[in-house]
Symmetry: C3
Subunit: 334 residues, 3 copies
């Protein structure tokens, strides 16, 4: 891989067969899980710069741990947006609030670091801007080194790779069922705030590209996601129907895509509970965290035997480690 | 040691004799002071996560230095409380301002790190909540790895261990007096703000458990501390009487415990000066820092020959190093 | 070198010949550029503390990278000024907003770290205070270990060393001209905010001390800098005249020095463009960044072949590495 922005970056390493490429990355991650230090000199004398335009807990810590396991140095830079507002517009006359242009900042970060990892959230105000991924694309254009997304305006690929790893790991624990195509359901859940679509978009993109699941997405009528990510999935507004016989349920809130960034309804009936979980094939439950307990998911599920959520968050390390290792190997071949 | 939250955690490593256990930890710290790198591979491939729910200078830096001396990796996470307000209440419906429950956050931090170190301050509003140590106890309950307090609602054990180290080190410099029981005085001092009781509580808890001092606490009438910590000490409201023949004077402000979190008076007569120091047996003076000069302590004392305060702050490194090493050794035996 | 606060600290290492001393430091930096890891154990078991009283991107990252290249550990401490306001006045009664006196903080930082690096900006309100360099001088006085300026109230020596390195490196690429004295012009540029004089002061101080350039400073009438730095340069208010036949043009805004800290005018005619660049001897252009595009410098220059600005920012690493190595070697000689 030369960068890690979406599922399609995985393909470069496997003759264009994306299912194989994803499975290979998943296997590499699980190998690191069983032996974290197996490549602990691979990253020696390589330096990872992690730039946060938005705050992060799990993503930051898991990626730092992954880099350390590979013997890389990491330097974290939390951007105080008020103190260092970046300009992204070409030709801007910078007499306003932005203090530095991405054209000047990115190449310098690229000169200090061997790999750059960047988090940047959507505005949720201007859909065209957010969905053009202007910020991360400008970083890639000007940085001159491999860029890893730590979540961008519309996608969160380290989370989605983790999700596939977690599902695959769970299937391998039940050897009898590993050859059966699992039913994977992505269900919208209520929340108190307007959240980005990126985790849902990205999960849909990865499960579709992976191709090993019977994939269903369910959400209230106004919460349709962008088709570029969901195409290939069965979509229904009937949560009960979607959950029927599900093997894995991914719970996530998102704000509206069409009338962009709105919260239309918050019907608590969409919260996953043991009652609705009973409709499934004793499904395992995933969530990217942080989770609003008893709003998105009930305590009984989060504290119960069907939750894979802590395992999933732990797997963030192995996803990041597999991605970093893959990019480093590509650089060294380079 | 399996954790480091209060003086009673020390006991586990010494057949229940707390005086011996404290002295052994003090000796280990002083050994590190004379040879900082003597165990510089002990912590290799172990990772310390330092989580600050409240700001820190000395505690953060000294613990990072200590971990580095042991060959450990450290990752610091300063929590922006507005961005990542944790929920601690069981069964909460999280539709308010808290974004993540400790039950979800702590096990994940425990999966990323081998040891967690946490700072969390009291509210100074609700005494029952503060004195139940809800925050740090919930971390311990859910983290699944050893937890070190970097100051909690009611205690500051790394500071108190440092204080004993500093007193003991000073006694050893005067070999003739090492067998005489020193008189140690904890005196309240004025301040402009309402401060936690934790440094005072913790110092009292440690000196009492150590048992090698004639221990006197002096404060204005309304500033009594919780008996669970002070029991065993002589308590007086007469500072002059307390200071008489003292060998060590620990100066510290705290807010009221009974009518919780208030500043009742700020009589400048309680500020330690050379005049009041003249009542002592040429006592050495300690303070945990930061200090409000000419409010808590006069310049003449801070800049004079009786101050051990800079030495004491430097000793924070060796206290943290002894604690980390002790916990690592317990983990390795485990 | 025993510290790095101004150009005059360089001299101690070269029998008082400042031109030789600067050139030697420049050569060391360029040697590191061609072989970053050549001294990668020099800093082993040495610890650099970086304390930011003001925010930093390039300076922080380049110095961290430089320290890592030398095998040093670095710990960064960003001071939240509201949470940790330092007192610098001797004898202060600290009943106000400052929470810790530099006399107490600095020696402790000196006990935790082998070298301290500090950034502290001017107030731009009180010239006498700013130009006395009270903050950094108090740190030096009380820290007890070598101090490196990461930009102080009136100077920015790591930037200026970088600037000389960048000019010298560019001259060496054109072997035919290396023996000709280059014409170096420092030109004021418009900006939307009142900025410190330190980059301009420092560049003037270094170019004058270096002595290998025909040095001209040009600025609007009210923008004269302090003579202690500019003495030796030709000063003119006619930018066109200054730029004539220039080999290197350093572009920088600063606020007024005499009527201190003001913005008197912002005549866009002072912005460097290809039109004004045509007056020069095909001059290379430098700027310390961040730059306000199309306010200080036009896009056409920043994106054109005459800009050395990205190279210059990259060279920050080698300047910091040469300074750190030099100080470490002095410490080891002891």
């Amino acid at each position: 891989m030369k960068q890690f922005i979406s599922v399609y970056d995985v393909i470069t390493s496997n003759n264009g067969n994306i299912n194989n490429a994803i499975n290979q990355l998943v296997n590499e991650a699980l190998t690191y899980k069983s032996n974290p230090l197996k490549d602990n000199t691979l990253g020696n004398h390589l330096r990872l710069g992690m730039l946060f335009l938005n705050p992060s807990l799990r993503t930051r810590l898991s990626t730092q741990v992954a880099a350390a396991n590979l013997g890389m140095e990491t330097i974290v830079f939390n951007v105080d947006k008020e103190g260092w507002a970046l300009e992204f517009e070409e030709g801007a006359i910078m007499s306003g609030n932005t203090v530095e242009h991405i054209k000047d900042a990115a190449p310098i970060l690229g000169s200090y670091f061997d790999i750059l990892a960047i988090r940047t959230f959507p505005s949720l105000k201007n859909r065209a801007d957010d969905y053009s991924e202007l910020y991360i694309q400008q970083f890639i254009k000007y940085a001159g080194v491999p860029v890893i997304s730590l979540e961008s305006a519309t996608l969160h690929p380290l989370q989605s790779l983790t999700d596939i790893i977690t599902i695959q790991e769970n299937r391998l624990h039940k050897a009898a069922t590993v050859h059966k195509k699992p039913k994977v359901v992505l269900t919208w859940a209520p929340h108190v705030k307007a959240l980005p679509q990126c985790v849902a978009n990205s999960f849909a993109q990865w499960v579709n590209a992976w191709g090993e699941a019977d994939f269903v997405i369910t959400h209230p009528e106004d919460y349709a996601l962008d088709e570029q990510f969901t195409k290939g999935a069965t979509i229904t507004h009937n949560q009960a129907e979607a959950l029927k016989d599900a093997d894995y349920v991914y719970v996530k809130n998102w704000s509206t895509y069409n009338d962009y960034g709105k919260v239309y309804e918050n019907d608590p009936a969409w919260m996953l509970t043991n009652e609705t979980l009973a409709l499934t094939n004793n499904a395992k439950v995933l969530h990217c965290l942080p989770v609003r307990r008893n709003v998105e998911l009930s305590d009984e599920i989060l504290d119960g035997p069907n939750s894979l959520i802590t395992t999933e968050a732990g797997n963030r390390v192995w996803a990041a480690q597999a991605v970093l290792a893959n990019i480093i190997k590509t650089m060294k071949k380079g």
